[in-house]
């Protein structure tokens, strides 16, 4: 088990998400940076969909009540286990009673703590992810609080310390300035409702991520982007990544806890291969949108999958060599 000692901001239990209930209006929830959650689970030999803890703010402290393997992936943090420094994207081993202390988050926006075997909260509608909107899943359907006890599936394996290259390095995008994240988008349903000058403004602007940004969505700030004539649509199905333009002309990117439907005009959609980059973009930093085509979006997804596959292969290789030598 794990005991939460101190928590800042809405930390929550998340797996990859709840994908079978969308038609009933139940959003996916799930890790905002699914690549990082997968990487942590791969490092530990877990099912890649095993639940971990998504930590959006620090300081964050917890205690392990028994010997346990764990990994930290996602944001770059200053963290210590029992006084030992933990490098980024790293798996390590805690002994019973050890304190994990996440002190600072100099890079990225969300840290993932995964544990050997996974966080064992009940499956609700096919997932362990916390659904903030519906207040179910995760631990009692809410953000973690000091004093919370999280059950963990027992894992027999003892593993050595090991790190992997962060996705941000392997999957680095060219021409990325510090404090600006470039995300690829495909144009969406109402793109043609904006005139050419407004479309150009959308592409050329650097969009500031306002403090009103969270798991539900990111509200951006920049020049007003408004359609030629006001567009009012009936609510229709939307997905995480959709960029809506409300009447004030300031874009909203729908994220993992988004509603499943909405009526604002949609100018574009962040491709799935870049949605994790949005999840790691910090409040106050800038986003820029780069237009891409469907085929390129699929290629980007293939590149992301190849990175995950390389992680799987290399970590499995290390374990097989260990098994081979000890058997």
């Amino acid at each position: 088990m794990i005991e939460i000692l101190s928590v800042t901001g809405p930390a929550s239990v998340q797996d990859l998400g709840r994908f079978d209930q969308y038609r009933f209006g139940i959003g996916t929830a799930g890790a905002m940076d699914d690549v990082a959650l997968r990487a942590g689970n791969i490092l530990l030999g877990n099912d890649e969909n095993a639940a971990g803890i998504e930590i959006p703010m620090v300081p964050f402290r917890l205690r392990f009540d028994r010997d346990m393997a764990f990994a930290l992936t996602g944001a770059g943090v200053e963290a210590e286990i029992d006084g030992r420094v933990i490098p980024p994207w790293w798996r390590s081993h805690a002994r019973a009673g050890d304190l994990l202390d996440i002190k600072a988050m100099p890079r990225g926006a969300r840290l993932y703590l995964t544990v050997g075997g996974g966080i064992d909260v009940p499956m609700v509608l096919g997932s362990r992810s916390t659904q903030f909107r519906g207040e179910f899943g995760g631990l009692h359907g809410r953000p973690l609080q000091p004093g919370d006890i999280l059950p963990c599936t027992a894992s027999a394996a003892t593993i050595g310390e090991l790190g992997v290259e962060p996705a941000e390095i392997t999957l680095a995008r060219p021409n990325t300035a510090a404090d600006e994240t470039i995300v690829r988008v495909v144009i969406a349903g109402e793109y043609d409702g904006f005139d050419a000058a407004t479309q150009a403004l959308f592409w050329s602007s650097s969009w500031k991520i306002t403090p009103q940004s969270n798991r539900y969505g990111y509200r951006l700030q920049g020049p007003a982007v408004k359609p030629r004539v006001p567009i009012e649509k009936r609510s229709h199905g939307i997905v995480p990544g959709v960029i809506q333009i409300p009447p004030n002309g300031q874009p909203i990117i729908q994220m993992r806890d988004a509603q499943t439907s909405g009526g604002y005009p949609k100018i574009a959609t962040v491709i799935r291969a870049d949605l994790w980059r949005v999840g790691q973009a910090r409040l106050g930093s800038k986003l820029r949108f780069e237009q891409t085509a469907y085929a390129e979006a699929l290629a980007a997804e293939a590149e992301m999958s190849a990175y995950i596959e390389r992680l799987r292969t290399i970590v499995r290789l290390i374990e097989e060599i260990r098994t081979c030598r000890s058997s």
Binding site: P87, L162, I169, I314, L317, I318, C324, R325
Partner: protein, 141 residues
Amino acid sequence: MPIKLTDIARLAQILERSGVDTIEIEEPGQSLKLVVDTGPRMAASPTPAAPAADHSVIAKADVAGHFLAAHPWRDKPFVAPGQHIQAGAIVGLVKIGLLYAPIVAPAAGTVDAVIAEPGATVGYGTPIVRIRPPSGSSPIN
């Protein structure tokens, strides 16, 4: 325990499947090196003998790859001369493809020197960091 022929066959299969071209295993009394002969080979790195006269202990690489003195996300190296470290502290990384394997201090003490050049190719046993144990304690090298 001796390495069996079936182990070698299995390791060779794993190497072939994973695209890794070299593996070295060393245990007391035996060593095994497998090289998949499809790509350019990794240069064998020299393994200079550790100075024997002083009481220093040496943190060594235990896998072949490239030495990283700092994590790519960090400006500061893991250790710097003069720094006190505990036994088991990470003093650097060996990068092998996407893997970062830790190099750990075999004993507590003060960092004397980082011997390996950042980015250098290192192999099994390459000395990385020289550590001076606290005076009065016996070396464990």
